[in-house]
Point group: C2
Chain length 333, copies 2
């Protein structure tokens, strides 16, 4: 089985974003979107086609990251928006129970607190069968005004994540800072930033069972693995392999063979989960290979030295470990 741990509902019907725009603008015509089952079926045809063509079985699916827009609405508006987005994910998962498993958007906001997120997280996990959440380390959208992820302000959420036994993917939303292109800078910077926060803090002493997926191949981290090993050593911090062992996992959303090759060389196989970010940041075909840039399974399949055991870990077993609730979902099918 091949589990893609990183898919966003980027093809959601346009009624959803139209509502969000009206809601943020506080327009009188802001009404929750009415979207039919047929529209939902139609909207995920690209994902289904890519799954079939690339040989992936199931996608861990969450609302479009760039549309979360935690910087755009207030706490109440973002509660409503998260609920709508998560309900749409639930409808996709209900219509295609073999192909999609849900991960939720959290109702974060610039002035909000971690406690704001707990109700929606519980609803999604306990009532909708979701298996994780996306946690935005920068609800300000590029101004980075929230406390670091190791700050105790986040602890109420972490307590709930551990209680529910679900992981968080560290994932920012759009950038409203003109310095940061969303998918070309803000996303990767957030991944790098979060890792260094974890390296310098003692979060996993307090929460030994808390698990984070750092997407986009871990931002800059694997490329600079020597730098981080050296920084950890200089700072008398744990070795990286010990820091990450049970708590930090990188996905494989790296869109060329040399990058995937490096990831596999430096990061322990047990800490890598397959992901493609499909349909996502990069949508074209690489003229150098004739294949889609984000067909990351192809790069992994091309690594000559990988054992079947390692391959099975990356494609399936690690995801089952990081997202244990997926086992219940898959066994029901």
């Amino acid at each position: 089985m091949v589990i893609d741990c990183h898919g966003h509902y980027t093809t959601v019907s346009k009624e959803a974003q139209a509502f969000r725009d009206a809601q943020v603008a506080a327009r009188a015509d802001a009404r929750p979107p009415v979207i039919s089952d047929d529209q939902i079926r139609e909207s995920v045809q690209p994902q289904l086609a890519f799954q079939a063509a690339r040989g992936t079985d199931v996608t861990i699916f969450s609302p479009r990251a760039s549309s979360m827009g935690h910087h755009a609405g207030d706490a109440r508006a973002n509660q409503e928006w998260a609920r709508i987005c998560n309900d749409l994910i639930h409808r996709v998962c209900t219509l295609f129970p073999r192909q999609f498993v849900g991960v939720c958007q959290l109702p974060q906001s610039v002035d909000g607190s971690a406690a704001d997120c707990i109700g929606e997280l519980e609803r999604c996990v306990n009532e909708l069968g979701f298996i994780g959440c996306n946690l935005n380390p920068d609800p300000s959208g590029g101004h980075w005004t929230a406390p670091p992820l190791t700050d105790r302000a986040w602890y109420p959420l972490y307590e709930k994540l551990v209680e529910l036994d679900v992981p968080a993917m560290v994932h920012v939303s759009a950038s409203c800072n003109p310095n940061f292109h969303a998918t070309g800078a803000h996303y990767l910077n957030a991944d790098t930033t979060a890792f260094m926060q974890f390296l310098t803090g003692d979060l996993f002493k307090d929460f030994p069972r808390l698990r984070f997926v750092i997407p986009h191949g871990g931002g800059a981290v694997p490329y600079h693995w020597g730098r981080y090993r050296g920084l950890a050593q200089d700072m008398k911090r744990p070795r990286l392999v010990d820091l990450i062992r049970d708590n930090i996992f990188f996905d494989t959303c790296v869109y060329h063979y040399p990058g995937i090759e490096l990831l596999m060389k430096v990061v322990p196989i047990d800490n890598i989960v397959f992901g493609s970010e499909m349909v996502g940041a990069v949508r074209g075909i690489d003229p150098e290979t004739g294949n889609y840039f984000d067909d990351t399974k192809r790069y992994i399949d091309s690594i000559p030295s990988m054992s079947t055991t390692d391959r099975t870990k990356i494609f399936e077993l690690n995801a089952r470990k990081v997202y244990p609730r997926i086992n219940n979902v898959l066994s029901r099918q």
Copy 2:
């Protein structure tokens, strides 16, 4: 000849920082530091020893990056501080003219403008024989309030850089945002951010002879080279090799072999300049190799397939191309 394009004066005598602290605190006892030639000779013994041990000939040397602190002082204070730091670099270069060539700190500040930097840049290049500058894309120290590097607000500085035929290394200073560890997040994020700004803008149409060095191996960029190629294609921007050809160069401050190997695989050799950041961000010895993490020459020397031509480009010729004024300095010796 081996030219290390990335060295900071991290071992500067403590009197310098003591002055800066007093100056920023507006203390009455803030007096420019008095540092003897013997103190300067003593302070750079670590760099000289590393040069000798590692087989590098000359270091392109600039003030300590984390001490620039553009967020800490106002425009006037930062003018004075830049002048003091640059004068210390000049004294190092005068005492050891074969081993060091100067690159200057710019007197940027949160509310300052590009025009503030021109006088000090001209002084350093025309009077002190410096061959480049460090440009901070985020003088706010982690709040990212300045305009992107492609904004016209920076153009007066770029006009002067082109007129003087000197490059800028994109280099932030310390972070005053608790989210960003300086050397473990802020530095790399800035490199990634700057590259994406260049990719989305048309800066090099306006300044075809403007040259930037993106340090720390280009942040996350080479690891995500496929992502950037794909983004450029989706956005109908130039191919990366064309974007960077005459204008963007990555140094080799990547502290493990797999990272250097990836850099050499994906970035054209003509766009890579040797750098070690010595004495800098990571100071320890890698227990896996027994060598200093930042002995980056060793990684490059270990690449089996590299031709002598390519090696000479990385270690010498590319630096002479990016920093052409180094040719005058070296020929005078």
